[in-house]
Symmetry: C2
């Protein structure tokens, strides 16, 4: 089993090395190989996703990814900016199914912006389509407007699009996932305005016929953004497109107040996957040894379960994380009165000890 380790920028290297430490402490053998990605790769090789890094990722069973991005690359042309690496990996590996759990840990309820009774016990799973939609749709660019409100003016444009098989496969992923949980899927669309999402709604409804044991609800994206704030626990699995999923999964993760705890997985149809924390590269705290490594450690657990067929090892890591929380250990982002403040490496060590 081969893992490509791509630490990236900002706090990426620090948090990834704690996850590697935890993986190394398991009684499972992996081959791990590291490569630069994002800004670090641009510095080293002139491109955020160098050929060698891409090759390594393509040849691995799974990718353990830190984070990319830093303000200092803001002035680069778009194709060279760090986030192009993540878009490039998604596209090249066909990682169409993004799993973003939003879980509120019992001990961290107080960290949420929301009132405790609204988030205690929160456990929702957002499944975001990740290789289609307006993220990759062609044509796109700048031109002179031929029609519209200002014909003759300079304009920019993008194309939103979904083909039937793209919607079918992500809908199946969502219904299968719901079967193993609360048996309810909320499909988020904007069918009242967009042709793409009327089609989305129609196809999801058709696929649902194969999953009569799962409840299907349709919701407009604006309403979903509201209901997440009002009553997040009413959701079980949310499935939506790439653009709406980007917005709603970030909103949902912030509801928990502890985004530093939330992992993510992006899978293709061969169960090859990219695993990364839900949070970003946080360049402001990079190198200070204070970043929370738990989201990355929990991403490694998802990797064991989804791509490496080691559900038992995954469960051990998750139990160890629960244990260190119960011990009262907290990195600064989740620290509160009465708990013990620890740094990145101490937290990683504590998870290893708890294994």
């Amino acid at each position: 089993m081969k893992i490509a380790v791509l630490p990236g920028d900002g706090i990426g290297p620090e948090i990834v090395s704690e996850a590697v430490k935890v993986l190394g402490a398991l009684d499972v053998k992996f081959e791990m190989e590291a490569a630069p990605v994002g800004g670090a790769a641009y510095e080293a090789a002139g491109h955020p996703l160098p050929e060698a890094t891409l090759k390594l990722a393509q040849g691995a069973d799974a990718i353990l990814f830190g984070a990319v991005g830093d303000w200092k690359y803001d002035t680069l042309e778009r194709a060279l900016r760090p986030e192009q690496a993540i878009l490039g990996l998604r596209k090249a590996l066909g990682l169409f199914a993004n799993f973003r759990p939003a879980i509120c840990y019992e001990q961290l309820v107080g960290a949420s912006s929301l009132k405790p009774e609204l988030v205690a016990g929160l456990d929702i799973l957002i499944i975001r389509e990740l290789t289609g939609d307006i993220y990759f749709g062609q044509p796109r660019g700048r031109r002179t407007a031929a029609d519209g409100h200002f014909p003759g003016a300079e304009e920019a444009f993008d194309t939103m699009r979904y083909a039937r098989p793209e919607i079918e496969r992500i809908a199946r992923v969502a219904f299968e996932a719901a079967r193993k949980r609360g048996k309810k899927v909320t499909s988020v669309d904007k069918a009242n305005v967009l042709e793409t999402f009327q089609f989305w709604k129609d196809v999801v409804t058709e696929v649902h016929k194969d999953y009569p044991d799962v409840e299907l609800q349709h919701m407009y994206v604006d309403n979903a953004a509201m209901q997440l704030v009002k009553a997040p626990k009413a959701f079980d699995v949310i499935v939506t497109g790439n653009m709406f999923g980007d917005i709603l999964s970030d909103e949902a993760s912030m509801l928990t107040g502890s985004i530093g705890m939330l992992p993510s997985a992006s899978l293709n149809d061969r169960k090859q996957g990219l695993y990364e924390p839900s949070h970003g590269s946080a360049p402001d705290i990079a190198g200070k040894g204070v970043a929370n490594p738990l989201a990355t450690i929990l991403s490694a657990a998802m990797m064991l379960r989804f791509s490496l067929n080691q559900p038992e090892a995954a469960g051990r890591i998750e139990a160890a994380v629960q244990k260190v929380l119960a011990q009262g250990l907290r990195t600064p982002d989740i620290w509160s009165e009465g708990t013990t403040r620890v740094g990145t490496a101490q937290m990683g060590d504590a998870v290893v000890n708890a294994l």
Copy 2:
């Protein structure tokens, strides 16, 4: 001064008649004329926006709008569904500038999902572009995919687009509005992925040169969805496109916990405007006399200020609403222990008495 009164569906008629009552109690003369819109118009005339209703709206200085929509029209073909009326009015009248304040009233802080300290004193203004973007961009439809992941498959598509003058004018609206408030504009985009929103960011940055006294911040839409939950009071004016604005303005209004209090205005370049509550038609409580009319009454105040040049009368209505809240009167949606529960008409009467 002529006002077109379009009550619409669900609770629309009840709440609009309270606003009309309040307008009638002012010492200002208006000509008011009512017409059906939405589902009510479909029932009466076979179309959600009949020619006569559109004519009336076009000939008026302002439109007082209730709400449209009901589950029972869900099976109609899209062109006949109630929400097409609102899209049609925006387009026909060129109502490109949507103002959506998200204010947390002192007495209603407890109604929010968020912790009181995060929302007490909240006062943000979302300015949403309302006639462009993927809402109206052509081409759109269904076809056989020529390329993409599944060439040959059935697909649906839409076009996101913005022309330079569309971005310039909404940016000016936002900077002008910020000048009268906290002097800070957050422009929300997805420039890291979309050509349209890289252009948006570029043009907003150019327009900003004319407003050196206003601070400009750029933020990605996924981050904005998070920051609204984490620290909403850090915003002053948010300006964004039609699609992102739809999502973020609803998220922001729900943060306050009292969406039944929030008005909105949609203006064109002749200051003609459509005024409506931020909430929907709530068919489940229609006809029960329990709907909160305050968002509609406050929309009438916005109408007096923005379209009818009666800022003093607007201020009187707003002060009267503050007064009834201070008196402890509450419709069921904002009721809490220790306050007095009233119905729709009682609330309207109380505002009239407080004028």
